[in-house]
């Protein structure tokens, strides 16, 4: 009943408006792509030094790490938690949220659409140049195709679900602003922990086993570690299928929790600034 009141068309219209807005930031995208490219190279060399100085075989091959690094750079906007939407923060902190509340929309869904479209438009501007250049690099550094077509398919599926999952996680950062009155603290906390547990600092297969167990119990790795390792061929199809179900489970849980928490925050909402 509650869903019928807010029609899907308004969310779609909002999605396209946001995409249109997001695609305006071309210069930022070019700068971002170049930064990611340099950052990617730096990581490649660091890991090369690591692999060359170690005689024992590592649980993941250098070529596979290279795949993960390039995909991370290309789809950065899909999974970094510090990629933030200042509109929502200012809305809460300056009281413009008043306008959002006097519209016939569900705030959670509306913000969800806003956040997902911002990440989509940002990634779509950045990923192509990075992927293209990375594909034409000389041998050990180049981006290859995944081992099979099936891997490719599961990569796309888990990548998309990973994006949805990340947005549900990031929603908690925005909701926390109702309580903390500052975006910096929770942003930092989420970003540091989230990125570590997503395997963005050390790839998950290179972590000690006990740490891997913790990582597997948290939602963060399901945003980017899973799809990229499927692409690199490090995760097989059976595990990919299991991961999809875990992704769906996390999404469901976090959406329900997020909606409840937002509902609660709105009851005590203070509209700042008169």
């Amino acid at each position: 009943m509650r869903y019928r009141q807010s029609n899907v068309r308004s969310y779609i219209a909002y999605f396209f408006l946001q995409i249109k807005q997001g695609l305006q930031y071309r210069t930022a995208a070019i700068a971002g792509a170049i930064t990611q490219f340099c950052w990617g190279f730096m990581l490649l060399f660091i890991f090369q030094a690591f692999y060359q100085s170690n005689i024992q075989t590592q649980p993941i091959s250098y070529t596979q790490v290279v795949q993960i690094i390039w995909l991370q750079q290309a789809f950065l906007a899909f999974f970094v938690l510090w990629f933030r939407d200042n509109d929502i923060f200012t809305m809460i902190l300056t009281g413009s949220i008043a306008y959002e509340l006097c519209r016939p929309i569900h705030l959670y869904s509306f913000w969800f659409v806003k956040l997902i479209s911002a990440r989509l438009s940002s990634a779509s501007l950045r990923c192509m140049p990075i992927l293209l250049v990375a594909a034409f690099l000389p041998a050990p550094y180049s981006l290859k195709l995944p081992p099979t077509m099936e891997h490719f398919l599961y990569f796309f599926l888990t990548l998309f679900l990973g994006l949805v999952l990340l947005v549900t996680i990031s929603m908690f950062v925005y909701i926390s602003t109702f309580y903390t009155y500052s975006a910096v603290g929770s942003m930092l906390l989420f970003a540091v922990f989230g990125e570590f547990f997503a395997g963005l600092i050390i790839p998950v297969p290179l972590m000690p086993l006990w740490l891997q167990k913790i990582v597997y119990a948290l939602p963060f790795r399901y945003t980017c570690d899973v799809p990229f390792r499927i692409y690199a061929g490090h995760i097989g199809i059976p595990e990919a299928i299991v991961s999809i179900f875990i992704q769906l489970g996390w999404i469901l849980l976090l959406v329900v929790l997020g909606r409840l928490l937002l509902q609660k925050s709105l009851q005590r909402v203070v509209v700042h600034g008169g």
Binding site: S10, Q24, C102, P104, G274
Partner: protein
């Protein structure tokens, strides 16, 4: 149409101290106090009225408006608008009202005004035919022809407020809440807005509640004012009643200032 009874709203406000020692102690033992934005506000508004909701800064005008538009929950008291309680069934309720906060913007900053309008059309599920009619009417009266294709950030304040008001009326609400719609506007823009408010009240029978500090707004638009101060209703009635007790050569501005001092608000 609008029934407000013994409305009360209090906020928790944290106290911050200046010295380092105090700020450390307040980190562990935060001190706060209740601030009473509204103590006891009651009034009744009939369909088709224009109400001037006035009072000094901090009297609780915006808070009342936010409760009536379903944004804030009151601490106690009742408020019924068109038979509905605003903060319950918020979504169903806000479909039927229009709100303008003069100091904030509801339009999307980086895209042309028309894009914002189209999105609002989808949000409020306004049918194509009705939308075109209502847009044509608004464009005509508010003279928006040249503004529609401009991004909001390029508009002047007066132009933006016109677009804000148009945006809040696209779905043809029967009640319009205006929170300081003429703040910061020049004389021409003010007069245009006033004329517009009169016209939609007359022709479309829209009930209008506006807060303002500009007493010319009141003189031009309405006979009935509700005066609040320190969170209480102090006066509700005809402006001329307020004037009667004072010498006639005083401007309405001076009269209101005197009223404020007399009520010690």
């Amino acid at each position: 149409m609008i029934e407000v009874l013994h409305l009360r709203k209090q906020f928790k406000v944290y106290e911050r101290k200046e010295s380092l020692r105090d700020s450390i102690s307040s980190f562990f033992f935060p001190k706060w106090k209740w601030v009473h934005a509204l103590e006891d506000v009651s009034f009744h508004i009939n369909p088709g009225e224009i109400i001037g909701y006035i009072g000094p800064n901090g009297a609780g005008k915006s808070t009342t408006l936010k409760i009536m538009s379903g944004i804030l929950l009151p601490t106690s008291g009742t408020c019924k608008v068109m038979g509905m309680i605003p903060w319950k069934n918020r979504i169903e309720y806000v479909r039927q009202i229009g709100v303008v906060f003069g100091q904030r913007s509801q339009l999307w900053w980086d895209v042309p005004v028309l894009d914002s309008f189209l999105l609002l059309k989808e949000i409020y599920r306004v049918e194509e035919g009705r939308y075109k009619k209502s847009l044509a009417m608004l464009v005509d009266i508010l003279q928006l022809q040249d503004l529609l294709s401009k991004p909001v950030r390029q508009l002047s304040l007066g132009q933006r407020i016109k677009c804000e008001i148009a945006a809040s009326l696209l779905h043809q609400p029967s009640i319009l809440f205006l929170d300081e719609p003429t703040i910061g506007l020049d004389a021409v823009a003010k007069i245009a807005i006033r004329k517009f408010i009169q016209r939609i009240n007359h022709e479309n029978k829209v009930t209008v509640i506006l807060t303002t500090h500009d007493m010319h707004d009141i003189e031009a638009l309405t006979n009935r004012v509700i005066l609040i101060g320190k969170g209480r209703t102090l006066f509700d009635g005809n402006v001329s009643l307020l004037k009667e007790n004072y010498t006639t050569d005083q401007s309405i501005e001076e009269i209101i200032a005197q009223v404020y001092t007399e009520y010690e608000i």
